[in-house]
């Protein structure tokens, strides 16, 4: 196992070679087959250690989650009993259902802020990534400026338009958000329309919301949003909703 090169290679991996020795190392790596094979074993050993560490951590994460789920299941049994009693009382109260079908309630159920589809964590951030960083850090006023600037220089950039709409939404500028998101085309369009519909719902313009949902369904560009749109449309048009509201 030990060869004439072992100590030399060990010192390389410990970053203890002088600059002259480094040149010698590179030369041997190019010309000497035995040396190459031994270096390869070192590299594989190092890789095995790193991967084993990750694999162990991965098991640890999984086990923590499994424990958490199991313990919450047993705790939930108690909660479920309480919830059952509460539900029983609630069933007799029509007002309870009325609350469930309120537009604001439906909005809250359906709305989650749009995720980050952009940032890849490279050292050199593009203007788009910088704008996304502002969005992720919830500095929406600055994000609005940053996305608007990208939109001004690259009006064809639909991603910037989408996140400009999202930032406007988060900053409470609902009307402007609807206008911006309605203009989004391409891959982001179904999701943009989804947020338009939710915002219209929140603003109390249900007919407009239904029209936006209908557009998502009829254009059928993204199955995930078609399913969401159908679900929300069903709730909005539910006869029971009309009865209790």
């Amino acid at each position: 196992m030990e060869t004439q090169y072992t100590a030399f290679i060990e010192r390389y991996f410990d970053e203890n070679l002088t600059s002259v020795e480094l040149i010698e190392y590179q030369e041997l790596l190019k010309t000497n087959l035995d040396f190459q094979k031994e270096v390869e074993l070192f590299e594989k050993a190092l890789k095995a250690i790193r991967l084993k560490h990750i694999s162990d951590l991965k098991d640890r994460v999984q086990s923590i989650r499994n424990k958490k789920i199991n313990s919450s299941k047993s705790s939930n049994l108690g909660w479920m009993r309480i919830a059952a009693s509460v539900m029983l009382l609630a069933v007799v109260s029509l007002g309870f259902y009325a609350q469930q079908y309120k537009a604001s309630k439906l909005y809250e159920e359906a709305y989650t802020p749009a995720g980050d589809y952009i940032t890849n964590m490279d050292a050199d951030m593009s203007t788009m990534e910088k704008a996304m960083e502002l969005y992720n850090k919830e500095k929406f006023t600055y994000a609005i400026d940053a996305f608007a600037e990208i939109g001004n220089t690259h009006p064809e950039n639909q991603v910037a338009k989408f996140y400009l709409g999202q930032s406007l939404l988060q900053a409470g500028q609902a009307k402007q958000a609807i206008i911006t998101l309605s203009e989004v085309s391409g891959d982001y369009q179904p999701e943009a329309l989804w947020y338009v519909a939710l915002t219209q719902l929140k603003m109390g313009t249900e007919t407009a919301a239904l029209e936006s949902l209908e557009r998502i369904i009829s254009e059928n560009e993204d199955e995930a949003f078609v399913i969401k749109a159908k679900g929300l449309k069903r709730k909005l048009k539910s006869p029971f909703r009309k009865l209790v509201l």
Binding site: A45, L51, H53, K58
Partner: protein, 203 residues
């Protein structure tokens, strides 16, 4: 095992922990690290898994990428390569996205997420993803190594120097650590040389 909606109990238990606190907890190891993992799962799992499934991932694939992503994130914190330039949420999501794509490459339902973007070198996670076969191979390779050996090699693989390792693991001198590391590494190289099939998994 996938849990898309956090149970009510979990939501009540979750308390706000800052990114800096989380990093400290991870570096403390043991129970503090477990609590940090629990918090990462509570705050990011649903969002990340949901996102991956939206990209056509199965629940099992999303779950696997999430666990491997959190593991890679912890390693980056331990190595000191996570510098807090972005929030942990953004950073972790980026790692999980990359691992999922690498592991379960496939046509996307829609093209929001360009393959070219993902192929940029990022150094956020290992080139090799952990498959079942690789995991079994790694477990076998390490069977003969004692726990102390594994600890020394693990810290060495994360670029800790001999003095730092000596301090962390209570060795009397850096030379003792150096000798130990060389001995343990020799044993591991022997295992690799004796098991070329396993060694080939590490290409």
């Amino acid at each position: 095992m996938l849990c898309l909606n956090p149970p009510i109990v979990l939501m009540f238990e979750s308390k706000k922990i800052s990114d800096n606190e989380l990093i400290k907890m991870i570096n403390q190891g043991d129970n503090a690290m477990n609590q940090a993992i629990e918090h990462l799962l509570d705050t990011h799992a649903t969002k990340i898994e949901g996102y991956l499934m939206k990209q056509n991932s199965s629940p099992e694939e999303a779950e696997d990428a999430l666990y491997e992503g959190i593991a890679a994130f912890i390693v980056n914190v331990q190595r000191g390569t996570f510098n807090g330039q972005s929030t942990i949420g953004t950073y972790l999501t980026s790692i999980c996205k990359g691992i999922w794509f690498k592991k379960f490459q496939r046509m996307m339902v829609h093209k929001k997420w360009e393959a070219a973007e993902l192929e940029k070198p990022q150094n956020l996670y290992e080139e090799t993803v952990i498959t079942k076969e690789l995991k079994a191979g790694l477990d076998f390779l390490m069977t003969n190594l004692k726990d102390k050996c594994k600890e020394v090699l693990q810290l060495w693989s994360m670029s800790f120097n001999m003095t730092e390792i000596a301090e962390r693991l209570d060795y009397t001198s850096s030379q003792v650590v150096m000798n130990k590391k060389n001995l343990c590494l020799k044993e591991l190289r022997k295992q690799l040389a004796d098991n070329p099939n396993l060694a080939n998994l590490l290409v």
